[in-house]
Amino acid sequence: MKAGARMIPISYLATAAVFLVGLIARSLKIHQVTTATTILLFFAGIPCIIITLIYVIMRFHKGMFGNEGYLTQTLPVGKGQLLLSKLISSYIWMVASAAVFVAAWAGAMVVSNNLNIMPDIIDFVFGNSFAPLVIFIVVSSAVQLFAFLGELYFAISLANTRQFLKNNVVFSVVFFFVTNFAVSLLELAAMLLIPLGIKFTETGVVWTTKTMLGDLIFNMEAFTGNQPLLSGISIGVGSCFADLAAGIGLLLAAVWLLNHKTSVK
């Protein structure tokens, strides 16, 4: 946590500084600066997330398999506990960066004075379904992030086994993309085929036990164009279960690799 505490908050502070400059420019009616800061704020979250991601990857690789591994892997704690501690700190940083990303977008709306049109846009697109949709997005993103970290840790651990140790960095990247592709397929299949989901109606969101695939086909023909865009659409929550299962499975596999197959160079 300490190393990240030095690196990541700088990107947060930079985002906050841009927002502050934008606010001042708006109050002083300096339009060029207001426009520039609005655009900057729209993109400011991206470097925050990239920096956090690099930090998460480097901390795991260096902390477990670099020179630091000589300390961490000789501590009198289980490999699962070590992995869990890395997972918790990485998760916290990733959530914080995602929050900064969202806040930067909100900041852009404030600086560009467009915050007041948001309710209309939300009403047009989501109708009464906005709040439940936000809850769904937050929950599914949280589970997706868990699976994503599982993919990362598994890929890096696999790349540090005997067969791949010489080119562990290259193999970490390859294994991550392969794992990520496999999990994405699983996630998509679960979302479309597991008969459990949430359905957007004109009055709000209801649970449905129909598959998303079946609902999609049915609603394509029934869409009239007079209701909110999402009305009648259902989203399968099977993807959340798939992500959860994939995350747990990959983390357990990473622990097994750490116990039986990996070597500290």
Binding site: T74, P76, T161, R162, K166, K261, V264
Partner: protein, 232 residues
Amino acid sequence: MSSLLEIRNLFKSYDRGPVLKGISLNVESGRIVGVVGPNGCGKTTMFKIIAGLIGDYQGTVLIDGNPPGVKSKEIISFLPEKTYLDEGIKAGTAISMFADFYKDFDRQKALEMLKRFNLEPGMKLKSMSKGMQEKLQLILVMSRAAKLYILDEPLSGIDPAARDNILDIILNNYSENSTVMLSTHLIHDVERIFDDIIMIGNGTLLVAESADALRERTGKSLDQYFREVFRC
């Protein structure tokens, strides 16, 4: 005396080929054991397996009756060849960190040793010489009340004057019930402290006996015998 470390038929291979080829040995409690052999003979690999840093090996390794794992790590204090501390860390912070990590760590003892070897708690690792860094890491390792100390090349890159300091730290800070396994190729400088000697060549065990018995049997010092065995 009881067997603290038991190794049976230990095999380990890397891509370049086998490194350990069926090593079997016992190490008793209360001994200072020199582990010697030429570079690449498998000393470090064996230490890393005992310390729990390498999981894919064949054979049996038992430390106080337990395979490498949480229980064995509670009683092993390992000094690797590499510097594992962050270069920005201060000596005092490293001591606090070890006190948090290990319940058998003696903070007072570490601070006293730090003072004795002219190291300031506020000194950062990156501002220290190689010898000072080695001393700090050794102080951290030897301030634990461990049953087994594994010291991998603690004298490499250290000037002769500082070598005596390093040996002092080792000799003055291990208890009589614990065992020190120390690898080195500077046998001449340290052979006086060894109770037992383990000699490894090309991944196989060549010698595992008491240092005195070896001297008596061969009529040579350990250093002379080492040079004779590994003469090119």
